[in-house]
Symmetry: C2
Subunit: 262 residues, 2 copies
């Protein structure tokens, strides 16, 4: 995708949002609901997106009428509506890779017992598009749709393969380089990782997002050289070298099946 439009001189935080466009408010509302993951009162919603109450009421009413939002059963709360589900299904239908990728992920997690995920770039961030929990007692599953800084993940390294330094820098903020445990990644190391991942065709990271897991990821191509998604397995950090190698082999085979012209 070309992000060309916004030269991004510096997105300074205008404290006063003054007159905000209705559509933008709506986009914020949807994003807010996506993060809260639950129905919320309209008043709270207004606070949450920092919008005037009256405006929020108007917009919510439009959205509810349109079916993008629904009043939650109990009373005066709103959440996503059926329309969004239908549009989402349309997206899946129009997207072979996603459709087949979901199946493959489900299959992989059943087959290996490990948590398996399908990941894509989503407006410059790593996004778990579909995940299927493993059978382990402690399953570390992040919710679908969760967005995580690219440098925290193995998939992130693969998704950026093929981009030049400038493009990578544009996608990674300084905060992104700080791992959950406080360690700070060096940008050069990250870029080196990306290059290496691009060559080897897979990526393994250990103890990055948490101390107990490692992540095995392989790329899925939408065209030769173009990484459209990744599939990954989240396994205990003490998984043997041998099993790790086996799993990577398995992943690579499956990803090859998904890829187009890879």
């Amino acid at each position: 995708m070309q992000d060309g439009n916004a030269p991004a001189i510096s997105a300074d935080e205008k404290t006063t949002a003054s007159r905000e466009k209705g559509l933008n408010r709506v986009l914020e509302i949807l994003e807010f609901l996506h993060t809260t993951q639950r129905a919320i009162g309209i008043g709270d919603l207004a606070k949450g997106v920092n919008a005037p109450r009256s405006t929020t009421y108007t917009l919510v009413r439009s959205l509810v009428d349109a079916g993008l939002l629904e009043m939650a059963g109990d009373g005066n709360r709103v959440y996503f509506g059926k329309k969004l589900y239908l549009y989402g299904m349309d997206y899946v239908r129009g997207n072979d890779l996603l459709r087949r990728g979901r199946q493959e992920v489900d299959h992989l997690s059943r087959e290996t017992g490990e948590t398996s995920e399908l990941c894509m770039l989503q407006s410059g961030r790593y996004t778990i598009v579909h995940s299927s929990p493993g059978t382990r007692p402690f399953r570390i599953s992040s919710a679908t749709g969760l967005q995580i800084p690219l440098p925290w993940t193995a998939s992130g390294r693969l998704l950026l393969a093929g981009l030049d330094r400038a493009a990578i820098e544009a996608m990674v903020s300084d905060d992104d380089l700080v791992l959950p445990d406080g360690r700070k990644l060096r940008l050069d190391d990250f870029i080196a990782d990306i290059a290496k991942a691009g060559v080897t065709g897979y990526c393994v990271t250990s103890g990055l997002v948490d101390a107990y897991t490692k992540c095995l990821a392989v790329p899925v191509f939408s065209a030769p050289g173009k990484v459209e998604a990744t599939m990954c397995l989240v396994v205990p950090i003490d998984t043997s070298e041998e099993r790790t190698a086996d799993l990577i082999g398995l992943l690579r085979g499956r990803a090859a099946g998904l890829s187009i012209g890879g």
Copy 2:
């Protein structure tokens, strides 16, 4: 679409939409893409929703930036984006009935070999929310998200059970009463059907949407007396009485399992 805010003295077709609100335009765009079911050029999109080209470009850019739409790979076409898929998944997650209903439908179609569907009311129209094709050589599957006039379907009769005459009339237009083959249903007959369906707890229609199938539907309750959805099987019209009865029995059992406080 109802423009609810205006008192709607008479919904005459204002040829000139004058200054249309951006959000409404967006809603129309989404709805339009939902009906076309494919990526479309921005120019055509503008024509399709009857909006000025310049406005359409602006809105589409916003939506693409937000991830609700995506530029389709080949060039200058747009279609639904990943964000909508993610929001849709959020909806599913927050909606027990839909989640379990989908599973049940998949299961039913595998078990019986017939096409099975989960249906709900969506802004006053009957909507196929999920469907799973049967194993017959000729499978008559309507796409998910398809909206069909209520009187054409068995499910429609169940979904309106419990509403009074005025409410029903408000939901059914005159056009809706005209079947695909040109026959015209009498409103009174339809209302009588609804009442009957409400009492018997299931509904069978033969040869309504087409001449070759009949539709067996049962209600799913979200609260005692409140029909939230229906599950139905689409079977050949010459299915024996006996098998029909068996299938209805099966459906009723499964629907009961889905219902809450039924």
